[in-house]
Amino acid sequence: MTGSRTVSLFVPCFVDQLLPEVAVDTVKVLRRVGYEVEFPEGQTCCGQPAFNTGYWNEARPCAEHFVQVFKHADVVVCPSGSCATMVRIFYADLLAKSPLREDAIALASRTFELSEFLVKVAGVTQVGATFPHAVTYHASCHGLRELHLREEPLQLLRQVSGLKLIEMARSDECCGFGGTFAAKFADISASMGNSKAESIAATGAEFVTAIDPSCLLHLQGILGKRQSRVSTIHVAGILAQEKS
């Protein structure tokens, strides 16, 4: 992995289908800081939905497929804290009895969330971005508590020209998405989302950003229903913006 300038892009399934601009912006940013990007087209899903709902037997072949698809990769970058967590933290357990266990563990060690990759692997916090708006940051749970990414996204945001970063109260309180939780316990999920929307509104920011597109999808829906003027944007989306 040392010195390689080619990054393999891991695009979460729902980003691929519903929020493609997050992946497009990720490519833009990686190229701007000097990396070549390849996208293994055989990828589908890391297996998280089935895994989180307790269906490990269904998640396992999915994970094995993923490991095969990315086996050749020097380094894997993903614009999602929860999906990167799936590979880094949970693949070892899920594939404990699989013949691909060793490959999975090796792959995990070279799989990174985007902001983590930029700051800790590429060693950059200044990516030449401009975004002259008031922005508040939501600290997505997986990135924060599983990958321990507290500072990295903020370090990147602070270097964005013109960006005014406003801290929200309880920025690390869960937004309420939680995957299938949002469907099984819709009322609680929405209630949590609305509490978060209130914290966001209290900052007066125009945008809320995060490293997890699933949080942003959920918040976009909640804010939309409240007819809020706040827009959601992924950290990659901010970093991809250049001076117009």
Binding site: V11, C13, D16, Q17, L18, L19, P20, E21, A23, V24, R31, E36, V37, F39, E41, G42, T44, C45, G47, P49, A50, N52, T53, G54, Y55, W56, N57, E58, P61, C141, H142, R145, D172, E173, C174, G176, F177, G178, T180, F181, A182, A183, K184, F185, A186, D187, I188, S189, A190, S191, M192, G193, S195, L217, Q220, G221, I222, L223, G224, K225
Partner: protein, 472 residues
């Protein structure tokens, strides 16, 4: 027509999620706790080292549970105390009831014990005509309302002072004419004082059972626990077998950590140690001392290699306080003795996985609970394991099983996945175009109940990549 616990939970959760008055009350209470908790942690030089130490103490205790329980029992009996091992709640209740009947007990004063809630001890005693007084202020309040405690540390946090004043006017003293908390506490003190001095039996729980000294440790603030264990002539302790710790010195870190996590205090006002009945030469104290060690499913957890550590819980309540789900639905919605993250993890083991597995799904797995647990129990990962266990036990809906099998097929075939994604976007665009969002035809209707519809791009990322982005 009876509803299952899962159905009741969904119904109550929906109601509470929409109850903004309730949410605001809980938010203010938790805000106060958050500030106190942070201040409390600042008093400890190395909080992570404290957590580590507490985890090690509990691990040692649980991994040698038989040895330490026997050591504790030996010391207590050498001082004239009695130790009774109860396999389940029924045995524990029978023992206490028989004891009370044999000793002509008519009145009992109780200090807080979640285990006594778990085994429903009060109803068992009331059934034979014994009057049971809850003396912890919060427990006394919910007892007057005939409802279970809302929270394991602050049982009445769902009530405001106006509600409590009205309750006291109706049930305690018609002369109550203020909702000032100090005034209400004074009224409770006057009423309960009569009970303390009239009761023949005092029942308490225990926060810790100290093996080497053979004493129980009780952490309280009000002094009711002190009075329950000093004045009546019989003292009965009802405790879970997992409360054991090896040494007296372990309390030097456990006491401050319990207090910090529970209320943000450096230590609770009374950290009491009791090892037996009144000894010869002592001025006062109970003549009889009985410790009821309750198993009720705990020994089963020992065999679970993944989840044995759940027995390390010191019942501080920190996971309840931080949990965003708890903050939105409150303690009563869980419908279990132990609510919050620890309740969701533990209840399937104590009361059956089929009936209570729904609690393990009622979580976004945010992990905040694990991050604050003072004994470092990996709570949110245990919820995930419970989900897996439920699936493996065949306890999930067949429609869901079929759905994930279909999902798996799609995900193993990239072209099928891409086609599936494209079809879904296309279908949704048509459905929404016809104004049918939220209708029975809308597969996203659950999502759309509380949110504006998801974006529907005309092109997936991979299509775009193939078309134009591929070149570096």
């Amino acid at each position: 027509m009876s509803t299952t616990p899962a159905q009741r939970f969904l119904r109550d959760a929906a109601e509470k999620s929409a109850d903004l008055v309730h949410r605001e009350l809980i938010r203010r209470g938790m805000e106060s706790y958050d500030a106190a908790h942070l201040a409390g942690r600042a008093r400890i030089k190395d909080w992570e080292a404290a957590r580590q130490k507490c985890q090690e103490i509990k691990r040692e205790a649980i991994n040698h549970l038989d040895r330490y329980l026997l050591q504790f029992e030996e010391k207590v009996t050498s001082r004239g105390g009695h130790v009774f091992w109860a396999a389940n709640g029924e045995e524990a209740c029978t023992y206490v009831r028989n004891l009370a009947t044999r000793l002509s007990v008519r009145t009992v004063v109780k200090s807080k014990s979640m285990v006594t809630e778990e085994i429903h001890l009060s109803p068992a005693l009331e059934k034979v005509g014994i009057k049971v007084w809850e003396t912890d202020f919060g427990e006394y309040i919910v007892q007057l309302r005939d409802e279970p405690p809302y929270h394991i540390v602050t049982p009445a946090m769902h009530l405001n002072r106006g509600q409590i004043a009205k309750l006291f006017r109706e049930k305690v003293d018609p002369g109550i004419d203020s909702d000032d908390p100090a005034y209400l506490m004074a009224a409770a003190r006057r009423k309960l004082r009569q009970a303390f001095f009239a009761a023949e039996m005092g029942i308490s729980g225990a926060n810790f059972l100290v093996a080497d000294a053979g004493v129980l440790a009780i952490s309280t603030n009000e002094g009711n626990g002190r009075l329950c264990t000093s004045i009546p002539r019989i003292h009965v302790v009802v405790t879970g077998i997992e409360k054991v710790i090896p040494r007296l010195e372990d309390l030097a870190v456990l006491w401050p950590v319990l207090a910090t996590s529970g209320t943000g205090q450096g230590i609770t006002t009374y950290s009491t140690l009791i090892g037996g009945p009144r000894q010869p030469g002592e001025v006062d104290g109970p003549e009889e001392f009985h410790v009821v060690l309750v198993d009720n499913g705990r020994s089963q957890l020992l065999a679970d290699a993944e989840q044995r550590e759940v027995l390390h819980c010191i019942r501080c309540g920190a996971c309840l306080n931080i949990c965003p789900v708890f903050r939105h639905i409150g303690g009563h919605t869980y419908g279990t003795t132990y609510p919050g993250p620890i309740g969701s993890v533990l209840t399937p083991h104590l009361a059956g996985i089929k009936e209570f597995k729904h609690l393990s799904y009622a979580s976004s797995l945010c992990g905040a609970c694990s991050s604050v647990c003072p004994v470092k129990i990996d709570l949110h990962h245990h919820l995930l394991q419970n989900r897996r266990n439920a699936t493996e036990a065949g306890a999930t809906k067949s429609s869901e099983r079929l759905m994930f099998r279909a999902w798996r097929s799609a995900m193993l075939h990239p072209r099928m996945y891409a086609l599936g994604g494209w079809s879904m976007r296309k279908a949704l665009r048509i459905i929404y175009g016809l104004g049918l969002a939220g209708s029975i035809l809308d597969p996203m209707r659950v999502w759309n109940r509380h949110r504006s519809p998801v974006p529907l791009p005309s092109e997936s990322f991979r299509a775009r990549w193939r078309k134009s982005l591929g070149a570096n």
